[in-house]
């Protein structure tokens, strides 16, 4: 009998054990090792030797580097426009489709497709579509009488191009999340609003959006985290170019580490990236919790 209760007492640890060990060895150890690395001057050539302690040297180098600040700026612009664009566009479509639609299962399947497809493939498709000589986008523009543009080799247009590709990939996701939220609103609330004489927009803002506020916040947070993290589409569309005009921070981590071969400095960029993700996400969540309390 004593044996049995012992088993019961230890069993949670047995069930958690494997996941716990893998998470520590596979995520936490590399993560903190990476934080430590950012304090060393570590390059590919001395990968087998003990590297020199560099203190905050990597960070000082970064903070003096105008390209680093440019990279942060681009990351924020990219994340902001992409998240806002996807939320607005996704919300419009979700509002239109919130009532019953014929063939909803088919439409939903089609909308799931873009975020199931590999980001590598997404980057490559859009690189082909935006190609200045034989891309279909310039062709469509020429049909309606607009001069062809050098999408991927003009700094501003290149940024717009990667934003369009990201919105293409993720608006369906936002749409599905918001649709699920809208369909969960109790019907009497909306009809009560109508009886009280609220027009469409009053109903939308005071009832519908208020009801799905949590869904909006979580969806926005997920998109922000992912927009900060993703480098694959940009890697395959522009490789950060032309120049460094689309080098978002996550791509900068890779390039500093494996192109410039400064592994310590790249780790410092990675630390900055994680701090930014953490701060921005907690701001979004903190704000929403404050709203809830009021």
């Amino acid at each position: 009998m004593a044996n049995k209760t012992d088993l019961h007492r230890y069993s949670p640890y047995l069930f958690i054990g494997p996941a716990f060990i893998i998470l520590i060895l596979g995520l936490l150890v590399p993560f903190f090792y990476g934080v430590g690395l950012s304090l060393y001057n570590f390059t590919f050539t001395n990968i087998r030797k003990t590297p020199d302690f560099y203190g905050l040297g990597n960070y000082f180098e970064l903070f003096k580097d105008p390209y680093f600040w440019q990279s942060i700026w681009i990351t924020f612009i990219f994340t902001f426009i992409v998240t806002l664009g996807e939320l607005l566009y996704g919300l419009v479509i979700a509002l239109v489709l919130e009532e019953d639609v014929y063939g909803m299962r088919f439409w939903r399947s089609a909308f799931v497709l873009p975020f199931m497809i590999a980001p590598v493939v997404v980057g490559i498709i859009w690189r082909y579509l935006f190609d200045s000589n034989f891309g279909i986008i310039n062709y469509v523009l020429s049909v309606i009488g607009i001069a062809p543009k050098l999408w991927l080799s003009d700094p501003h247009l290149a940024l717009i191009s990667i934003i369009i590709a990201d919105i293409w990939q993720w608006t369906p996701f936002v749409f599905l999340m918001l649709l699920a939220g809208l369909q969960g609103i109790p019907e009497d609330l909306v009809s009560a609003g109508k009886i009280d004489g609220a027009n469409y927009f009053q109903n939308l803002i005071h009832i519908k959006l208020a009801c799905i506020r949590n869904v909006l916040v979580v969806t926005a947070a997920m998109r922000i985290i992912d927009a900060f993290r993703s480098m694959v589409v940009v890697y395959n569309m522009t490789y950060g170019g032309p120049g460094k005009s689309t080098e978002i921070l996550s791509l900068s981590v890779y390039k500093t580490g494996f192109v410039e071969q400064r592994l310590g400095k790249a780790s410092a960029v990675a630390v900055v990236l994680m701090v930014l993700i953490y701060v921005v996400t907690s701001l979004v969540f903190f704000k929403s919790q404050e709203d809830e309390r009021n």
């Binding site: 049995k4 069993s11 949670p12 069930f15 998470l23 993560f31 498709i125 990675a270």
Partner: protein, 279 residues
């Protein structure tokens, strides 16, 4: 009065379907262009205006199979994807079961940590993992890739399984305890069969992440353990832009996405909702 109401209804209906069709075309057209380009000749792939009607050819696919050790990359992607999925599902559901149904020291802290771990960007890990693996001398081995992928997928897997285990009526487990089942029996004969739909969701999400993963694979695989996403970027940088061949590999990489989307989009949407639950 009644007439205008009906008119507004009809307008609304038309607007609804027009928007739907526009979104559908925006969503599908790039994918359609990818597939059709993969079936064009090299010359047709470059022609402007685009050739809409053409005789499909498998030339692009032949170029890919001739110029790459394609089978090896394909098998690597399959093995890494399947093994990672199996281990992630098993360990993830086990951990979620303990978190949902047991009280133990540090349970709340563990949940917070898992939520934080979901924020870690894969690109942040590539440098430390590369250095650690190369110090241990295992860079390029398939097993080291699988280990890292299991670790990267576990937080989301635990998170999603948690919501599914929560839905299992606890009375079933209480009855089993009275009948003298221990936790292992409860897990294997009650929890595991009942959350099968949840397991499907976790499996799809995990497999998708591994099959599509790029930054880590780019850094820690070598020519023996390389996966398809890395193979396609190297193919572009070594052979230049042969768009019909590039589209052919891209289409092959997208095949699992098509399969999952059209067989289980319902599961996928459920998983998105479960993954988004906070706190």
């Amino acid at each position: 009065m009644k007439g205008t109401k009906i008119k507004r209804r009809v307008y609304h209906l038309i607007l609804k379907y027009v928007l739907l069709v526009i979104l559908f075309f925006i969503t599908i057209l790039p994918i359609f262009i990818m597939i059709s380009t993969s079936l064009k000749t090299r010359v047709d792939a470059f022609s402007i205006p685009p050739v809409w009607f053409f005789k499909p050819t498998l030339n692009g696919y032949r170029v890919v199979f001739d110029s790459l050790p394609f089978n090896r990359y394909f098998i690597n992607s399959c093995i890494i994807g399947i093994l990672t999925t199996v281990f992630t599902c098993l360990f993830g559901v086990m951990a979620a079961y303990a978190i949902v149904r047991h009280k133990f020291f540090g349970r709340k802290a563990l949940l917070k940590v898992i939520l934080l771990l979901r924020m870690i960007a894969p690109v942040v890990l590539i440098i430390p993992i590369y250095i650690i693996w190369s110090k241990l001398g295992v860079v390029g081995s398939r097993n080291s890739v699988i280990f890292s992928y299991v670790a990267m997928n576990l937080p989301l897997a635990i998170w999603i399984s948690r919501t599914f285990i929560n839905e299992v009526p606890i009375a079933l487990e209480e009855a089993a305890i009275i009948d003298g089942c221990n936790d292992l029996r409860i897990f294997s004969s009650i929890i595991a069969p009942l959350i099968k739909p949840g397991l499907v969701v976790v499996a799809i999400f995990t497999f998708r992440t591994c099959w599509n993963e790029f930054p880590l694979a780019l850094v820690i695989t070598d020519r023996f353990s390389r996966t398809l996403p890395v193979a396609i970027t190297l193919f572009i940088s070594t052979t230049g832009v042969d768009w019909s061949a590039i589209s052919a590999i891209a289409t092959i990489i997208a095949i699992p996405a098509f399969i999952f989307t059209f067989t289980s989009s319902k599961h996928i949407i459920k998983g998105l909702a479960a993954g988004a639950v906070k706190g």
